[in-house]
Amino acid sequence: MQQKDIKRLTMLLLFAPFALWILLLILLPHIGMVILSLREKVAPRVYEFGFGNYIDFAMEPIYWNTLLRTGSMALLVTALALLIGFPIAYYIAKVAGFRTRGALFLLCLIPLWVSDLIRAFGWILLLRETGVISTFLQWSGAIDGPIEFLYNDATVVVGLVYTVILFMIVPLVSTLDGMDNSMIEAGYNLGGNGFTVLRRIIVPYAMPGIVSGCIVVFMLTAGSYLTPILLGGKNSSWFTEQIYDQFITRFNWESGAAFGFLLLAFTSLVIWLGLKLSGQTLANTVAKS
């Protein structure tokens, strides 16, 4: 009896930090954000309950275009990261020798330890019209005049892929690592060619890793701020920038909160759809990594 009480007490003690964390730092702030987003400013220091901020959003094509644009670019980045990252992950997990594997994995992680800012900064140094690449190309005679690589959507995509690809590679490597080599060999042994083995065995096996990587990458991309701001050109608006503007330059917390909530809802919806389509659950993907 007494032992049971002690157990219950320990359980409670263990539960408290978790509950406080989730409640105070995740749940309540988000509820607060939703409530704030439902306030309409009618006059200085006077607010009313209403859906005005959402209506504003719906009425203003700029906003939802930006959201859609952000969403679709995030999807593009996710797809690219997967396409580029998968062969790398496969190489690290399956092709590289034992020692190279560790080294390559480490190499993969190194950019992770440097902040977004520095990475974007590096890209700027490389890509600007008078930057390293343009200069190099001129020097080598490949082009006549300087070329501006910066300030367009393609650069933003490259920069984003760069920032997030590690989050794709890491879960992929860990799932592929868990895959028995004999599974691939069995695929060949039973008559499959390289493509069949990839499509029917490796990819389905790596699905949890793929989905997990995609979720994290998508979320990070959709929520990124620095990279699109610093590398983006005159046409590239990003939804987080929009949120930032609402909060900081327009002091409009109410609609900023509404935007924030919309971003969250939108990305969650995309992820939910992705999970449904791939037949995975959050529990066996992200929670596993």
């Binding site: 200085p44 220091r45 203003e60 700029i62 906003y63 275009n65 930006t66 600007r128 019209e129 008078t130 300087p146 501006e148 910066l150 300030y151 701001i229 050109g233 005159k234 046409n235 608006s237 929009q242 503007d245 609402q246 909060f247 900081i248 330059t249 327009r250 002091f251 409009n252």
Partner: protein, 334 residues
């Protein structure tokens, strides 16, 4: 005690800070760089706490105070107002008096205008020239309210006058937006800070741009061909102020700092860092020599008298302008 400054990038040169700390050994200066919007946003979030002295522009005080109550009135008796250029002081006072209390005094003033590389764009004159196809892909601007106002002036409107009638103002904004969207193809990129602007200009990636005068002066020091060009319609002038956040905790130190930087010898140091003019009497003479040359190269007396000072922003205008800017940003072009 600590003096926490919330100020512009170059408004607290290290040299001056050290000098100040030497003079008042018990005061530590902590500087946070910011800009107008962020200053207000930060102070709004903190309810006016966290900083002891802020330096928003003269037009951004009135509305923000009405709306968010983030500043506290100044005790002018603690400031040596006698050294200030009276016209600027009076102007700021007029702009920032609420219920009889004065909230700000002027510090630095400067203009927003244009800058051009004389060699490559010799006859660059007005806001409208940014959109001149001659310079296609070789101009830049900052996507903020200044360019809206500048363009409005260039189109023959008086936006400040329209503040009284927001519908009218909206009309102007719409026109401006159309113009700027059309112009989008002409510009290379929107600059975001002095840094990328300088880089583009110095490297020759662009030949002309909207600019702060201070940036232009700085570049003049690097390349004599790059000069500030006051637009025909008048450069837009701002005055950065000293303002006390509502919950500042080191008012005395703040006053000390204000008086300290108003001293002539310190004005020179400050101006060499900011590139702008201090709002003290005889400010031009206190400029460091190379800046003096730059200013002379840029401004004639006529230009000075043609300055358009930013008017107080009434509530709601920021929202309208913000939306317009978003519209421009989101529009495809170029």
């Amino acid at each position: 005690e600590t003096l926490r400054l919330l100020t512009w990038g170059s408004y607290a040169p290290e040299e001056l800070v050290q000098k100040f700390e030497k003079e008042y050994p018990d005061i530590d200066v902590e500087v946070t760089f910011s800009n107008n919007e962020e200053m207000i946003a930060k102070l709004r979030a903190t309810g006016g706490a966290g900083f002891d002295l802020a330096q928003p522009s003269h037009d951004r005080i009135y509305a923000a105070q009405l709306e968010y109550d983030i500043y506290k009135p100044m005790d002018l008796s603690k400031i040596d107002t006698s050294v200030m250029e009276p016209s600027l002081l009076e102007g700021v006072k007029a702009n920032t008096t609420i219920e009889g209390e004065v909230y700000s005094v002027p510090h630095q003033w400067g203009t927003s205008g244009l800058m051009a590389n004389k060699e490559m764009a010799p006859d660059f004159k007005g806001w409208g020239d940014l959109c001149d196809p001659k310079y296609k892909g070789k101009t830049s601007m900052r996507l903020k309210r200044t360019i809206l106002l500048g363009t409005a002036f260039a189109m023959g409107e008086d936006p400040f006058a329209a503040y009284a009638d927001l519908d009218k103002y909206q009309e102007i904004l719409d026109k401006v937006a159309d113009k700027l969207i059309e112009c989008k193809g002409n510009i290379k990129a929107y600059w975001k800070g002095g840094d990328d602007l300088s880089a583009m200009m110095l490297s020759g990636e662009i030949v002309a741009s909207e600019t702060w005068d201070s940036t232009a002066y700085k570049l003049f020091g690097q390349n004599e061909n790059i000069v500030f060009v006051p637009p025909e319609t008048g450069a837009l002038a701002w005055i950065d102020t000293f303002t006390l956040p509502r919950k500042g905790k080191a008012d005395d130190a703040a006053y000390k700092w204000i008086n300290f930087v108003l001293r002539p010898e310190n004005v020179t140091i400050m101006s060499s860092s900011t590139g702008s003019m201090a709002s003290v009497k005889g400010a031009k003479d206190l400029l460091p020599p190379e800046k003096k040359v730059a200013v002379s190269a840029a401004f004639t007396d006529a230009d000075i008298s043609n300055l358009k000072f930013f008017a107080n922003i009434p509530p709601g205008v920021e929202d309208m302008e913000g939306k317009t800017l978003e519209k421009i940003k989101a529009a495809t072009g170029g």
